[in-house]
Amino acid sequence: MVFGIFTYTEMEQTIKSEVLKKLEIVAKLKEKNFQDVFEQNNEKLNLVSSRYQLKVELDNYNKNTSNNNKTTSQKIMNKILNAIKPEITKFEDILVLNLSGIVVASTNNTYFGTIHSDDIYFIEGKRHNNVTILYKDKNQVLKSYLTGPLILNDKLLGVVTIFYNLGDLLSMFKVFEEQLATGEINLVKKDDNGDALIINPLRFNPDASLNLTVSKDRVDTPIIQSLLKNEKTFPETKDYRGVDVLAVTRYLEKLGWGLVVKMDKVEAFAPLENVKYITILSGIMVGVAIIITSTFLGNSISRPIKKLRDIMNEIAHGKFDSKIDVKGPREIEELAKQLDRMRSNIANTNTHLNELVQERTKKIENALSKLKENEEALEESNKNLVLANERLARQSKVQREFINITAHELRTPIVPIITLTELLYSKIQKENKSDKNLSKENEKKQEFLQVILRNCYRLYKLTEDILDVTKIESQTLKMNKERVELNEIIENVINDYKEIISKKRYGSDQIRLVFEPSKENNFLNADKGRLIQVLSNLLDNALKFTKEGNVIITIKKLKNQELMVSVKDSGTGIDPEILPQLFKKFATKSEQGTGLGLFISKNIIEAHGGIMWGENNSESNGSTFYFTLPTEKSNKTIEDGG
């Protein structure tokens, strides 16, 4: 019996301390994961809520009554938010809400103008800084808000809220849970009653997330202990299901959340359960046998019994090897045989159980070391990613710097050339106008200057085009996208060109620019300056090759909600020789262009997610160029469909 209990307790202790040690490692890792992410994100919230300009603009927005001024403030706020966006881990969206709970700026257009005055993140965000709020979206995905007030000169202006996805962080729990049959991690917070509310979907209760609570009275459970800030190891306790478990608790100070890492006792001690009964039973039987033989039969029967007793003693000390082979009276021999059968049974079971225990312990150890490896591998790959990112960032920074310096150096000498030539030209023009006896000589001077000036502009245009090409080829062409309306942009470009035509810059003023806008507004996310560049390029080409007649610009809405813009001229058409390489660099036969315009335009359109092509008109003279642009709606259909 002594032996049985001894072996059992010893094994139990070993398993307990091993399992708890491993659970602690997991708890420590998870605690660190969470604290890190939330600390970083809190910093980011502070970064947003302390941004002076954002608050000034929000103040302006609140105070201003003119819609124009409001839109300007809104644009600036959006820009600030979008600049901060990439820095936030697992980021989804940032909202800035005014005091009525209406979204006035956001990284996501669909939030504009929506009212959130009753939403908890608005109500909480007005009162406290860095509040973390959890919720489930309509797909039952656990998400989180960080929210806080925007205060300028002690005046509350509004609330800033950051949404982000907890999913990835929680899915890391699975790595642990999958290694064990009953391993589980509980993340809990206090609800309004002080009870513990489960945050994550649980292995044994997938719907528990933000649904299941554990009463604060159940102080014995690790969950409540964790919320009581008790960071402990529990070799034996009951969990929220009332099941016996081994558990480790942690308290996430900054979040006020509890963390429990646990495993069912049954699984941990599975091998021991068998050991317990069989060894204790066998122990008792051996003990009884010894008592019977030594008491009733006494010394008189002497040797065989003594021998038997010695062997039994050995067995009692855990030695099962020596066979019980005693010669003597029939009963004693019979007893000895029985005892030997029992001995060999115990010996076998014991060996078997030992193997089982070892196997089980090994499995647990394997599982945990695998988990640790996974964590390490993850950390390693994260590190590598960070490094690769840094390298990329450095490279692209070097490239950008090169382009920046080149741009600066090329443009700088053009400034005095253009400026002074323009000045000289206008002076001579003025002189010549007032000079009634204008000499041929002076007329020539004015002509010379005009040619110089034209070529200055050409050089300037070429510089800009080459810089664009460099950016395209080094993949550093950046689009500064904002919400724009296409009808309005085209209208403005056309008006500029109408004025240029009237000044006979294209030789003739007999060209009519016709715009056929679409009936509704067409909002899209685009770089306004770059779109104007594309339109100007297409119009410039069309006008260069059209002596008289119409140049027609149309917007059409395609079935997939994308927009198609076409520029149709009635000029000479595209040279068939050029046609196949129309969008390649320097593919021009014209003396006037740089041969880069269409290459750049096509790349700009593609950077917006559209396509561009050109063809000769089949029914009339001239050619037509087309490009498409995705709209807010077409983007939505793509998202819904896929």
Partner: protein, 133 residues
């Protein structure tokens, strides 16, 4: 049209001598009174408060960059309008940087890309002077 009584005074700071020379001549042709410096530190030391209607600064200057000069001039003269004239490629990035480096917020219209046609520059300058600050 009632404010045409006095000639508008502009301070121009750019380290390129040819640029200040060209712009001074061109802008004087359009009736502005131009004072120019090629050394930002000299410009700062000889600055006269409440004297100029507009200051035009280059951004990339070896002795002191335009943003720093902006902040120092702003200390001396809280009201004067200051804009940037830059040949830098990363126009938007400069603008973004300005948000962090400048002591106050400043609109996109205060950034002018050079080279620029004199006519367009004059139009922008007039626009800035008309604007209520």
């Amino acid at each position: 049209m009632c404010k045409i009584t006095n000639i508008k005074k502009i301070l121009l700071v750019d380290n390129e001598v040819d640029i200040t020379y060209a712009l001074t001549n061109a802008l004087e042709h359009y009736g502005f009174n131009i004072e120019s410096f090629n050394d930002p530190i000299l410009a700062l030391n000889s600055y006269k408060s409440n004297f100029y209607d507009l200051i035009i600064l280059d951004i990339k200057m070896p002795q002191m960059d335009g943003f720093e000069l902006y902040n120092k001039l702003r200390e001396k003269d809280p009201k004067v309008k200051i804009c940037f004239l830059t040949a830098s490629e990363l126009f938007y990035e400069e603008f973004r940087k300005a948000r962090f480096l400048l002591a106050e917020k400043i609109g996109e219209e205060y950034f002018i890309q050079k080279p620029i046609k004199t006519e367009d520059l004059v139009q922008k300058i007039n626009g800035l002077m008309m604007e209520n600050k």
